[in-house]
């Protein structure tokens, strides 16, 4: 296990998963990321990341109902786990800490 360290994109996916609550499945996550970040996000990348997050135990998944849009296939819904929540909080904490370390004038001068 690589530990609970999150990559940048992993963090984004995890955040979106958390935000979408019950509607978080790969395509929805992909769309949300696209609208939020303004850059095109590929399904393949999201899929791989979700798979990796699940392996790390940060998210868990369950199958939903089959729909005709998906050719009769079920959606796999992701929900964030406690470990995922912890990882997100840890990442936020780290960031906040780093922000706190920056003196206000240091940014102003740029």
């Amino acid at each position: 296990m690589k530990g609970t360290n999150l990559g940048e994109f992993e963090e984004l996916v995890l955040l979106v998963t958390a935000a979408l609550i019950d509607e978080a499945y790969s395509v929805a996550i992909c769309d949300e990321l696209t609208t939020q970040t303004g850059r095109e996000v590929k399904l393949g990348v999201v899929h791989a990341v979700l798979n990796r997050l699940e392996e790390k135990g940060l998210v868990k998944s369950r199958f939903g109902e089959a729909t005709s849009v998906r050719g009769g296939k079920r959606k796999r819904y992701y929900t964030i786990t406690n470990a995922g929540k912890a990882a997100l909080l840890k990442a936020k904490e780290l960031r906040d800490q780093l922000w706190a370390n920056i003196p206000e004038f240091a940014l102003k001068r740029i």
């Binding site: 395509v27 399904l43 393949g44 791989a48 005709s68 079920r74």
Partner: protein, 880 residues
């Protein structure tokens, strides 16, 4: 999203995804892609959406999506393979009887299969030596003459068609013409050699890769009186002298210049010749070349086209059709259509008349392959039967394997490996049998003898091994599926839970199948044997007893006749142009002058005045030819038979009145001087044509001497006749045959079919019998305890015998009930409809085979069950 169009992602991409993707991921991945696809369809159109789908499927091929267990399983399969082979070996050794039956059955049947493969392998090699073999096509013709239509296409066409194609049809690179095979004597410096070949045009060397060693291929066959020899024939004529540019005399007549020497023809060429003579010569030497060049003279010219690489065959056919339409107007009553046939398929393809050389048509190949498949299946069924019969012992093994962790696929593989090992062992024996049978097989039939070599080559051995593996898989497939389906827990808990019932019905069905085939095979052979005997002894309407036909080979008939008549054994001598009733047909156009609109073909034989008495033809009116006529060069008289009399209404069908009437033979008037009783001019099995016959008297046309001989020592007589021949003619071989032998030879095809049928019947009966024996042994073994208890309780030996064998006897009866009607219907409805004068099928032939087969089976069943029923019950029961 309301888009509900019936557009689907490319199916192959979906299957690809399903193939490589882990089962745990496949569902939502496929769903995601589908969702995107639907979205793309409405946004960018179906084509683009499909493309993106495919790209996505390929992009998702990532380490985390690929199924892994499969690799692992294959690995396990490979690791276990060694173990499977080992257990197979042990099983073979443990069950000696079953293994013997299996290996014996498989090896004899596989030997038949190997013969088949070697034959197809040879045939496939034919004509591949030509550089452009895939572009060479032969022109074949179909004709309709009044009501008469050609039954199969002719391999020949007319000279006129060849020229027309050369001039008018686009897309043809070169047109090679082989015209009229002939044999002639070639003389150079006192040395005379008989050779045979064709009249051919110069394009022959453009189309075929005949490899001209000396001479210019462009011009070698251009000028009249040019001749191209093969190396061997050049050596025969010229010995060591350089042949090119020298002259040879043909038939003591004209001189021909040698303009080319080809390498000897490759073994696998369907065209064979000793020499080629330029076609342009034919125009000069032939007496009626105009007739030869007519559109409806389509009997003796073989035309091969070298087509351009990108030829449109439909267009070519259209062009040929237009050509025919145009040319058909030049002749009366005859409608000819042309087609092209690929050269590489000639030896083993469609059956065609007038082939340029020997071929083995696809009818023969289909029949032989069909028989081989039946024999092999029969042996495979033995394997299946015996394997399932051993369910009891093997199912425990399978149960344990499954408990330890073998998957279904492992068990399947194990049983398949076992059967492949058996079939590979059988292959070793089959190969030995193949080497032994090969020469017998080749000598079975004339065309086989001329065409097949069956030399071993690495590729052929590869095919043999592949074949053995296929047979192994075939034989093992059913047992493998059967055993792999067993439930481990049930099998180990309670042996009686083994699903034996299903196996049992299949076993019965297979036995019935084997015996049905056996009975059909032996019955057909008996019927063929009866037909053969019937035809050979057929009453042709004239006597052939003790008559020897000697081929004249162009020698003077009178001189030889005089010499032969001095032999004491020779009683009488006559002369004729053909040997009748062995398949020779010479026809001529005839007409009754009082019926000017009606003309037709009469078949004829040219005879002298002694022919009718020697052969005991019955003159019913008029007289025989008179010897005085021999001096006059003009032919004036004919003798006709009753059919011809009736056909053209000569003398109002009264033989007596017909005498003296005029008949037009090829437009020349002749007088009918005699009428003979009908006889069989064609082979005895040909009742369709050759009925209207006449005898002509043309002294220059004699080609045979017919000697009536009275001797006790044929070998001595033959030697003395040969000595006389040698004095006259050193060039040609002495060809003398007893008339009756010649008739027998003309039914060689039937005889060969009989031999093959007999051999196969023997094989299938042997395989079926030995398989049945195995089944009897195994079933009685499993019922040994039951039998012992029955005996203890007082069952009689007879009763036991009946009990044990009745099941098998019922199966045999079913087989007989299926086989006999099938054979009868096949023979009467299909086989004998085409042939004439067939001997009727009687109950004797139909049931003789059944009796033999059932007799053998009953003998085996009773002998074994008797043995079992005589075992001491105490012996069996005490060990429990």
């Amino acid at each position: 999203m309301k888009s509900k169009e019936p557009i689907h992602p490319p199916r192959w991409a979906v299957s690809l995804l399903n193939w490589y993707c882990k089962p745990s991921l496949i569902e939502d991945l496929e769903g995601d892609l589908h969702e995107y696809f639907v979205r793309n369809v409405s946004k960018r159109g179906p084509a683009m959406a499909k493309l993106i789908y495919v790209i996505d499927v390929i992009k998702f091929f990532r380490p985390y999506t690929i199924r892994k267990p499969q690799f692992l399983q294959t690995l396990i399969h490979w690791i276990m393979l060694g173990s499977y082979i080992k257990t197979s070996g042990r099983n073979i050794v443990r069950n000696k009887l079953a293994s013997f039956i299996n290996i014996f059955g498989l090896s004899v049947s596989m030997a038949v299969g190997l013969l088949m493969i070697a034959m197809l392998y040879d045939l496939n090699k034919y004509d591949k030596f030509n550089e452009h073999h895939d572009r060479i096509y032969r022109v074949s013709s179909n004709f309709q003459y009044l009501e008469h239509r050609s039954r199969e296409p002719f391999a020949t066409t007319s000279l006129r068609a060849a020229n027309a194609i050369k001039e008018k049809i686009p897309g043809v690179e070169a047109t090679a013409v082989f015209h009229s095979r002939f044999g002639a004597d070639y003389t150079f410096n006192e040395r005379t050699v008989p050779l045979s070949g064709f009249w051919a045009n110069e394009a022959v060397f453009d189309v075929f890769s005949f490899n001209l060693k000396e001479g210019n291929p462009q011009t070698a066959l251009k000028e009249p009186f040019s001749i191209v020899l093969t190396e061997t024939s050049a050596a025969k004529i010229f010995g060591d002298e350089p042949p090119l540019g020298r002259q040879v005399i043909m038939n003591n007549d004209r001189a021909y210049t040698v303009t080319g020497i080809t390498k000897d023809l490759p073994r696998f060429s369907h065209i064979k010749f000793d020499l080629l003579t330029s076609l342009s010569t034919r125009e000069i030497v032939s007496e009626d070349f105009k007739d030869e060049g007519a559109w409806d003279n389509m009997w003796s010219t073989w035309v091969y086209l070298l087509l351009q690489p990108d030829t449109d065959h439909e267009l070519l056919q259209q062009n040929l059709d237009t050509l025919c339409e145009h040319e058909n107007k030049t002749v009366d009553d005859m409608v000819i259509s042309l087609a092209t046939y690929p050269m590489v398929d000639i030896v083993s393809g469609e059956d065609q008349s007038n082939q340029i050389g020997p071929t083995i048509g696809n009818t023969v190949i289909r029949i032989f392959s069909g028989l081989a498949v039946v024999v092999i299946l029969s042996a495979c069924f033995n394997y299946t039967n015996l394997s399932i019969a051993r369910t009891l012992r093997r199912s425990k093994e399978v149960g344990i394997r499954k408990t330890i962790g073998a998957l279904r696929s492992h068990v399947i593989l194990q049983f398949i490996v076992e059967s492949v090992v058996v079939s590979l062992l059988a292959l070793v024996i089959a190969f030995g049998l193949f080497l032994f049978l090969r020469s017998h097989y080749i000598s079975l039939e004339n065309s086989f003898r001329e065409m097949l070599v069956m030399d071993l080559a690495p590729a052929l051995i590869g095919w043999f091994i592949a074949f053995a593996i296929i047979v192994g898989v075939l034989a093992g497939a059913f047992p493998a599926l059967f055993f792999s389906r067993l439930n481990a827990i049930q099998v180990l808990k309670n042996m009686s839970a083994v699903p034996r019932l299903k196996g049992l019905t299949i076993r019965k069905a297979l036995i019935v199948f084997q015996y049905t085939i056996s009975i059909i095979a032996i019955t057909m052979t008996t019927i063929m044997y009866k037909q053969y005997k019937h035809y050979v002894a057929f009453d042709l309407g004239f006597s052939t007893e003790n008559i020897v036909n000697i081929r004249l080979h162009g020698n003077k008939a009178e001189l030889l006749q005089k010499e032969f008549s001095e032999l004491a054994e020779v009683q009488q001598i006559s002369k004729s142009s053909i040997v009748q009733s062995v398949g020779n047909h010479w026809g001529m156009n005839v007409k009754n002058p009082s019926l000017p609109l009606d003309s037709g073909t009469a078949f004829y034989n040219v005879i002298d005045e002694s022919y009718i008495p020697i052969h005991n033809f019955k003159l019913i009116a008029g007289r025989n030819f008179q010897p005085a006529l021999a001096d006059s060069a003009i032919e004036k008289e004919v003798i006709i038979n009753e059919h011809l009399l009736k056909r053209f209404n000569f003398g109002e069908q009264d033989p007596e009145k017909a005498i003296g009437e005029t008949i037009l033979v090829d437009r020349k008037p002749m007088t009918i001087v005699g009428v003979v009783k009908n006889f069989s001019y064609s082979k005895a099995d040909n009742a369709r044509n050759g009925k209207e016959v006449m005898f002509r008297y043309v002294p220059s046309d004699f080609r045979y001497l017919n000697l009536k001989i009275q001797t006790n020592d044929w070998i001595d007589t033959y030697a003395r006749m040969e000595a006389i021949w040698k004095k006259f003619d050193n060039v040609h071989p002495f060809e003398a045959k007893l008339y009756n032998d010649e008739i027998e030879e003309s039914f060689a095809g039937l005889k060969a079919a009989m031999k093959v049928g007999g051999f196969l019947a023997f094989l299938v009966i042997a395989i079926a019998s030995i398989g049945l024996l195995g089944m009897v042994i195994f079933t009685t073994e499993t019922r040994l305890k039951e039998i012992s208890i029955r005996k203890v309780l007082g069952a009689s030996e007879k009763g036991l015998l009946f009990l044990l064998s009745r099941g098998f006897l019922a199966l045999l009866m079913i087989a007989a009930l299926i086989a006999v009607p099938i054979t009868y219907l096949f023979c009467t409805q299909i086989m004998m409809r085409e042939v004439g004068n067939a001997a009727p099928i009687t109950m004797l032939e139909l049931f003789a085979g059944v009796l033999v087969v059932v007799g053998i089976a009953v003998l085996m069943i009773t002998s074994h069950t008797l043995k079992v029923s005589r075992t001491n019950p105490a012996e069996v029961l005490k060990s429990e």
